[in-house]
Symmetry: C2
Subunit: 360 residues, 2 copies
């Protein structure tokens, strides 16, 4: 019984109607008499036909019912970032009117390693972004650096919306007031009297290793640059240290180095909550109390592992709303309307991890 699968034509024949009529019964795109419907459905049942082949339908309709979510970083790290997960929630919610699925797509790799043994003219294996049957895409975790994925999508004329990034004037952006928000935290620290402040940033370039950097190092990652600018508006000369990822462990490593120097800061402005949590751990390791000996601020407003004893002083970003807005933008674009860019505002949450500058 491993015969050829039944097609809509088979069903139509069995039901004694035309293929187009059967199609209409399944799609509901035109009226059909109750009797016809019954017969078609019965025939389908009898033949084990489960409905139109999605591949054929999407070719014909020109729509696949799939929205791609392209991650600038690795999928792995995306899953581990609570902010990204919250955004995904929002995206799923935002596109739900489309009844579309979300397709997780890794970023286009800049250059696929050519298969060994193939001659130099070898065909490039098409990447997921190139070959995925998506109706639209949401870009997440991209900097302003020209990313290959973006070029591919533009060439394919796939409607795109980008979250926290710049994909050119045509592409709707979902933004955060990163700079202004970060500035508020910095001002708060200054008001508390802090002068020796160190800034712990997200990566400044996709490729760069962790470490201190200076004004001559170009900051290519949008989010990093914006938050950095906000902090530097208040502390223009603060030492800056770049992490390579946003995690507690990374914050711990960075924190150890930041706190080890001879001229230890009285406050650390971390660009994410996870990094901040790591810095707090590092402080604990050196026997420093937070906030008595060291103030630490974060960014994101997510729940953080093992920070029970503290409530982080941080900027709370509306991560779910960001996703929802991106989803909504996709929906409008697919409806032929054009979608506006949106900028969301972070709220400053005063917790227990920042206090007055220690005396003396």
């Amino acid at each position: 019984m491993s015969e050829r699968r039944a097609t809509i034509t088979d069903v139509a024949r069995e039901a004694g109607v035309s293929a187009s009529t059967a199609s209409v019964v399944f799609s509901g795109n035109a009226p059909a008499s109750a009797e016809t419907r019954r017969r078609v459905l019965a025939a389908a049942e009898a033949l084990g036909y489960t409905g139109p082949d999605p591949r054929a339908a999407s070719l014909r309709r020109g729509r696949s019912g799939i929205v791609g979510v392209v991650f600038g970083g690795s999928l792995r790290s995306a899953f581990h970032d609570p902010v990204t997960i919250a955004m995904m929630d929002g995206i799923a919610e935002g596109v739900s009117p489309l009844r579309a699925g979300l397709l997780l797509l890794p970023d286009e790799t800049s250059s696929a390693a050519p298969a060994a043994g193939t001659d130099s003219g070898a065909i490039e294996v098409p990447s997921a972004v190139t070959a995925a049957p998506i109706d639209a895409a949401v870009l997440v975790g991209f900097g302003q650096t020209r990313q290959p994925s973006l070029d591919v999508l533009r060439a394919r004329r796939v409607p795109v919306v980008i979250i926290e990034g710049d994909a050119g004037p045509e592409i709707p952006r979902i933004e955060l007031d990163n700079s202004a928000a970060q500035q508020r935290a910095a001002s708060y620290l200054r008001d508390l009297g802090h002068e020796r402040v160190t800034l712990l940033t997200l990566p400044i370039r996709p490729s760069r290793a962790r470490g201190w950097f200076g004004p001559r190092d170009a900051v290519e990652v949008d989010v990093t640059a914006a938050r950095l600018a906000g902090a530097q508006a208040v502390y223009p000369d603060a030492p800056t240290y770049a992490a390579v990822t946003s995690s507690i462990d990374e914050g711990l490593i960075a924190g150890r180095e930041i706190l080890a120097g001879p001229d230890r800061p009285t406050a650390v402005i971390a660009q994410t909550d996870l990094l901040a949590a790591g810095v707090i751990r590092a402080a604990e390791e050196c026997g420093l109390r937070v906030p008595e000996d060291l103030s630490v601020t974060g960014f994101d407003g997510v729940e953080v592992d093992g920070l029970d004893a503290y409530e982080l002083t941080t900027l709370v970003q509306p991560a779910v709303e960001k996703g929802r807005a991106a989803g909504a933008a996709v929906v409008s674009m697919l409806a032929g309307e054009d979608a506006a860019s949106v900028t969301f505002t972070c709220s400053f949450r005063i917790g227990t991890t920042a206090g007055p500058v220690p005396r003396g």
Copy 2:
């Protein structure tokens, strides 16, 4: 310039070759002379052709390059469960040889509410699972209860692998030694002298509310039943309390009730780490020390929020490996081989949350 998009035929014509030759240049499925390749690529460039339309290609090839991941619960909750996220990591890794994308699919809703105002013969809107162009599917978070999604996929003859669930003899299963593992934790507690032990379980039925249950209540959820059986092998008469989800908050609520009774247990066996963490919080609330006054064990071996002071005594499950195995199974099935079921083993990690029974 919003003309019709160029097709491979246009490119072929422009390059002065046949469509099939152009196709071959893009797919690499047959040799083409360097000169031909050059001409075709140049023509494509000139026409702004970005490669074969994925919808058309997948119709013709009968493959979409997409693997569905179907979540038994809501997508939202799936994103918030650390075990699920770890598994997703593994799945992505496991299917990577396919260069396929992962499509997130919500479970088929048992019965879509018919649109108001439509006559009773209204067409059901096809669900995501029915209409998604997937080559295979991984089922996550399903019980043994017959789930509609599974029926749909079977009818569609989509190759399926199920993680922690039973989808019938034909479907490869990725399993955990839930029962044996849980029994180890229970034995450990018994060796420590515990006699008054309460079991805090995952939901026993998809629909059920939280609360105490007894031997007469059917446990319909596989994982719950297996872990329960393991604990009951050691403590057959232990009181049993079902949570409605796996979260710290839920564990806290359950924990309060469990610890409130007149005959307070000396140990709680929780079916997940998050629930265990909640119980520990509840214990702290009543001024009970863990493990001096109350022993608590978990299950999963994930990092838990706010459990900094403790290291949970728990069963560590290889969540990533589970996903990887599921991905690998999909790869074999798609290659025409059949995939074997796999059972993974949990390791018992002795932490600081279980100790000797307190002296009377």
